[in-house]
């Protein structure tokens, strides 16, 4: 029975559908509640913290033994800034936790918090990305006088010659506005102190439980064994729940200090103000093209607003350095020069959000291709055809090695599926009625499933990347798979169960996947960066293959055959070519209870495997058809098509779900969502009435075509697919808007392309024409 490749309904779902899931707030009953008192200003000196009589307020002074969050990149261009769990002298962004109170119930804690007065002398903040880079800008941190916390630079030797010999040089300024990953469940934790063994268990809504435990132990100065971190059901993360946040440190500190159970469940406003933001980036690029449209050279100045601090463990390098390393994307870029800076400001700290920098760099490359095609009088599909990578392995100018993919074929399939000539006829006809239709495409690569080499190359002092899996067949013939990855909605338990079921000849429902608990799973890195199916999947395959080998050995002995003759299928071990078979359950029992009969049972039916791959590139092409209302600036997406190549599909239904969700977030990025600060650093979009994630009415039907390039860069043949939807959609939509507005000669190089921005672009195009 082959379980791989089937759209098996998820094993996770019945519990969740009945309302029996355990999200962290569901575990907070009976615990005392913490409420943080947050800075009302973006920057200022703390003069005092006043509490009414009888109210205990915890401040930096109480936490004097606790360390600072200070992630490190081992590179000379990195300035490590420390983030205190609670600040003692100055605040760096509006919403920063300055103190906390505790009460028996959440509402009572909120009442108390309102009575705490923070005496803060406001100072002029630096908020805007480019303003922070001006020579006269005030430094956010004294350690970084120019506000640059990390800087990558490179220049290949032939870049100047490429520009000198170019038939056309295309220049672009692009801007991606700040966003929030905005998981539906906010952050939260429940810390339980156990008097008996003096351990503290933190249940928290996180993506990296093991890393969180390491960070907490380091900051609190205790052995890791004193702590246990459990990620229960997690209501979405998208990168926002990867980091070690000060709130968790305070929570665990308080549980240990009071020796009682305490909870912190943040509200939506806190989540917007103080969790993490992303995508606040400005890119200035120049592309040198020859007359045939070949991209000879690419030069880029990449700026990322990383906010007030550096997120732990991935650091503030995550956006700028990813942009730096991956800008060329799916294109053959012969010569490359880039400078990429992470710029600190008095705003909420940046952390990864699904796609990390790649939505913006894809927008950049796809706008560049479109502009170059227009300048050179080439068909925009043809110019991509001439530049897309087509031989593998491909080595990028930044040293990335791309495994086999279907870059051109995916684009051709997409173009064929949308019937471009028919669209052009519809578009021309609509124009005669004063309606503006547009079609945009975006081709991109998605680097996924990368192990330690990729993170080490970034200079991270903490190098994530591998995964370990512990696979055990118990005496009842049921399988437990303990994984270091920590899924939170991806359906990984189902997909891994399918994978190992095939390896061991059992059914997926016999496989229990255990994740997210530092006491019950091997050390691992969690779930992020489109890695779990590739890396935890690879390790699961290896571990279950080792168990299968032991099973075969025992079965061979029991049935007087050779190991090579044993097939594991349908819950049985069969001797090939005979009618002899024994249920796997009986073999498992014998291996545990009659071990004296077998030789070499070392490790028994419990085996561990480790997997640390170099990484693999998925690829895709997105096509968007839109209609733009030129009077209102409103955009309607009429059609959205994805041709996706993520290698082997383990569970196609789950893969499609990842694409759907990713595209929806990409649409949000392209058209709707924006975190807006006023010049004083106050967040204007701290509620769901102001920050606008799309509803079912804004998301069109998403059509998906799969291609399956099986690459040898991954053990399972599967490539990662978690982020692609988010990466490709903004560029396709923006290109479609620009296409629709071609009669006005309008360029849109900023996301989200809100009605306001589209109207402004049309107005300025009209004014320019009249001048």
């Amino acid at each position: 029975m082959n379980w791989i490749g089937r759209s098996l309904p998820r094993l996770e779902d019945p519990t969740l559908l009945r309302g029996h899931g355990h999200y962290v707030a569901d575990l907070a009953q009976d615990a005392a509640h913490i409420r943080f008192v947050r800075s009302p200003v973006a920057r200022g000196r703390i003069l005092g913290i006043e509490a009414p009589e009888g109210v205990t307020v915890y401040t930096a002074a109480d936490l004097s033994d606790v360390g600072q969050i200070r992630p490190v990149l081992e590179r000379p261009d990195y300035v490590a800034v420390g983030q205190p769990v609670l600040p003692s002298d100055r605040v760096c962004f509006a919403g920063q936790a300055v103190a906390f109170v505790v009460a028996d119930e959440a509402a009572a804690a909120e009442d108390l918090a309102e009575q705490i007065f923070l005496d803060i002398e406001p100072e002029e903040p630096v908020v805007d990305l480019d303003a922070a880079l001006r020579p006269d800008a005030v430094p956010t941190h004294p350690e970084a006088p120019g506000n640059v916390l990390v800087e990558g630079r490179m220049r290949t030797s032939g870049l100047d010659a490429a520009f000198a010999g170019a038939a056309a040089v295309v220049e672009l300024d692009l801007r991606s506005r700040r966003q929030s990953a905005m998981p539906m469940e906010t952050r939260g934790g429940v810390a339980r102190y156990d008097q008996r063994d003096r351990r503290t268990t933190l249940h928290a809504s996180v993506q990296m439980p093991h890393m969180l435990r390491t960070g907490l132990a380091d900051l609190l100065g205790c052995p890791e064994a004193d702590l246990r971190v459990i990620a229960p059901d997690v209501g979405g993360g998208f990168g926002q729940k990867m980091s070690l946040f000060p709130e968790y440190v305070a929570l665990v500190w308080l549980a240990r200090h009071l020796k009682r159970d305490v909870a912190w469940i943040e509200d939506r406003r806190e989540n917007f103000l103080a969790s993490a933001h992303s995508r606040d980036q400005a890119f200035t690029v120049r592309g040198a093209f020859d007359a045939q449209g070949r991209l000879l050279g690419l030069e880029a100045d990449l700026r990322s607003n990383v906010g007030a601090f550096s997120c732990y463990p991935v650091t503030c390098g995550v956006e700028p350095l990813m942009a730096f390393a991956e800008l060329p994307g799916p294109y053959k870029v012969l010569e490359y020069g880039a400078r990429s800076r992470g710029v600190t400001t008095n705003t909420c700290t940046m952390a990864p959000y699904r796609g990390v920098a790649r939505p913006m760099l894809t927008l950049t490359m796809e706008r560049l291709m479109e502009d170059a095609a227009r300048r050179l009088g080439l068909d925009p599909i043809e110019i991509r055809r001439r530049n897309l990578i087509d031989s593998f392995p491909h080595r990028s100018p930044t040293g990335l090695v791309y495994d086999a993919g279907s870059y051109i074929a995916a684009m051709e399939a997409a173009v064929a599926a949308v019937d471009l000539p028919a669209f052009r006829r519809r578009q021309a006809e609509a124009l005669t009625q004063g309606r503006y239709l547009g079609l945009g495409i975006s081709v991109f690569s998605e680097r996924t499933g990368y192990g330690t080499p990729a993170y080490a190359a970034r200079g991270m002092a903490i190098v994530p990347g591998y995964e370990q899996v512990d696979c055990a067949l118990d005496p009842s013939g049921h399988l437990e798979l303990r994984i270091g990855a920590s899924p939170h909605g991806q359906g990984l338990a189902t997909a891994l169960a399918q994978l190992v079921a095939d390896e061991l000849g059992v059914v997926p429902s016999q496989v229990r996947v255990i994740s997210g608990d530092t006491d019950r799973t091997p050390y691992g890195w969690g779930t992020f960066a489109s890695r779990s199916m590739v890396i935890a999947g690879g390790a699961s395959k290896l571990a279950s293959a080792k168990v299968a080998a032991k099973l075969r050995a025992v079965a061979a002995c029991l049935m007087e055959a050779t190991e090579a003759e044993i097939d594991l299928e349908g819950g049985l071990a069969r001797v090939r070519g005979t009618n002899r078979s024994t249920p796997i359950r009986e073999i498992a029992r014998a291996a545990h209870h009659r071990s004296h009969l077998f030789s070499d049972l070392e490790g028994g039916l419990r085996q561990t495997a480790f997997y640390d791959p170099f990484g693999t590139f998925s690829n895709a092409c997105h096509v968007a058809e839109v209609e733009v209302d030129v009077d209102t600036g409103g955009v309607r997406i009429e059609r959205f098509l994805v041709v996706e190549d993520a290698g082997r599909l383990i569970n196609p239904m789950i893969v499609d779900g990842q694409i759907h969700g990713g595209v929806a977030q990409g649409i949000a990025n392209a058209l709707y969502e924006e975190m807006i600060y006023d010049p004083d650093g106050n967040l204007l979009t701290a509620s769901l009435a102001d920050y606008l994630p799309p509803t079912i009415n804004e998301i069109p039907k998403i059509e998906i075509i799969h291609m399956e390039t099986i690459s040898d860069a991954t053990l399972t043949g599967a490539k990662g697919v978690g982020e692609g939807g988010t990466i490709g959609a903004p560029a396709a939509i923006v290109n479609a808007i620009v296409d629709a507005l071609a009669p006005f000669g309008v360029a849109i190089n900023e996301t989200p392309a809100t009605p306001e921005r589209i109207r402004a672009a049309i107005r300025s195009a009209r004014e320019n024409r009249h001048e």
């Binding site: 509402a107 539906m184 469940e185 998208f238 929806a664 994630p693 079912i696």
Partner: protein, 160 residues
């Protein structure tokens, strides 16, 4: 606090005598006082719909209703949707169509669709999709939620 009120909530056909502050939301009372944590809170300001429950046959955002207002009314939460082992058609189709990922928004969507059908059993598919636009999901891109609800609507109409 002595300004608490003793009330009885009727949830999923069961009586829950609870003592709550007048300011306590129905959502908080369901979660904290009745122990029914299937009702989730995504925003507590009436936008996301994660907290949707059915009150007297209509979908209601339980973060915007006070617990004391629900006294004497019939409240139905996600825990009351299935009949024993048998999943409600909405639950079944959400499962089969992969209408959930992290599952945090799911109880809200289930109760919204169930409540909209209960309030108007003649509701058509387009109207139903429009109703669904009042809730937020961050994971699914709504594709499979729409599919699941359409299929469930057919089953609910047919009474299966």
């Amino acid at each position: 606090m002595n300004d608490r009120l003793a009330i009885t909530l009727n949830v999923n056909g069961q009586s829950y005598p609870v003592t709550v502050e007048p300011r306590k939301s129905l959502a908080d009372a369901l979660r904290e006082d009745c122990g029914l944590t299937g009702t989730h809170l995504g925003c507590e300001h009436g936008v996301c719909g994660a907290c949707t429950v059915i009150v007297d046959g209509r979908p209601v955002r339980s973060c915007l209703m006070f617990a004391v207002q629900a006294e004497g009314l019939a409240v139905c939460t996600v825990e009351g949707l299935a009949e024993g082992e048998a999943l409600h058609p909405l639950q079944r189709h959400f499962w089969e169509q992969h209408g959930l990922q992290c599952g945090f928004c799911t109880p809200g969507f289930l109760m919204l669709a169930a409540g909209a059908f209960e309030a108007d059993p003649t509701i058509d598919e387009a109207e139903m999709i429009d109703v669904l636009s009042s809730n937020l999901c961050r994971c699914t891109g709504y594709q499979n939620i729409a599919k699941a609800v359409s299929l469930a609507l057919q089953d609910m109409r047919a009474g299966v």
